[in-house]
């Protein structure tokens, strides 16, 4: 099983890879910022690898299917109020990291729900595009 990033030809980048770049270390980062960035990526990486090692299937409690979609989610905390939702699916011997976005840890307003649904639909469109060109990926 190999982990790959979905590459979007229209955007000209991999959405998940691009998001992870937000947590690259900068020269001016304080120690606390470095620790925070490193922890976020280490947590995500551990979960992604756990899922990969278990066949990239939805394995509760670390990964779950999303109702109405044919991809799965991994949630990882960003801070107390925000979680990072990583959407992936399995294609043959690949675990394809499709899309990622931040959402409130708990939300109740229709506006927040709508925004989350919009992001899920974007992931769904990425999945459709990938099916048309199965070479649209980059190494994790």
């Amino acid at each position: 099983m190999k982990i790959v990033y979905y590459y979007d030809e229209n955007l000209k980048f991999c959405p998940v890879k691009e998001y992870f770049k937000n947590y690259l270390l900068n020269e001016n980062d304080s120690d606390s910022v470095i620790r925070r960035k490193q922890k976020i990526l280490a947590d995500i990486d551990a979960k992604i690898n756990y899922i990969k090692d278990n066949g990239a299937r939805p394995i509760p409690p670390i990964s779950k299917p999303l109702r109405g979609y044919s991809f799965f989610e991994i949630l990882s905390p960003k801070d107390f109020k925000t979680v990072i939702r990583i959407l992936y699916f399995r294609y043959q011997d690949k675990m394809v990291l499709l899309h990622v976005f931040e959402k409130p840890a708990s939300y109740s307003t229709n506006r927040e729900k709508k925004r989350v649904n919009e992001q899920n639909k974007i992931a769904d469109s990425f999945l459709d595009i990938f099916k048309l060109n199965l070479e649209n990926y980059e190494e994790y």
């Binding site: 470095i34 960035k37 490193q38 280490a42 990486d45 409690p61 949630l75 905390p77 994790y140």
Partner: protein, 110 residues
Amino acid sequence: MKNINNKKKNTNPMKEAKRGPYFEQFSKEAKDRIALGVEIYNTRISLGISQQELARITKTTQKMISNIESANIDIRFSTLNKIKKALNFKSDNWARIYSFVVENKKALSR
């Protein structure tokens, strides 16, 4: 500036992050949290206990149990003690979490 942007554009973020000073430590902690969360989840399911029920027994919240099982938070020692008691954790459970072989179960259960 252009060079820096190009460098960032071509960077593999995970490979880069792994070279950072704290990544290995946080990675190890995350793997331990996942192993613990999965073990609590599997044991709870095998006993037919809901998250709400476990939360009630351990005097915490369903959200807290969910976060522990999903490896999203560091569990407090006192909470871990309540959960292991509620789920009747044995040496086999700890062996699965910390990936060691139980050679003398009687000695460990004393």
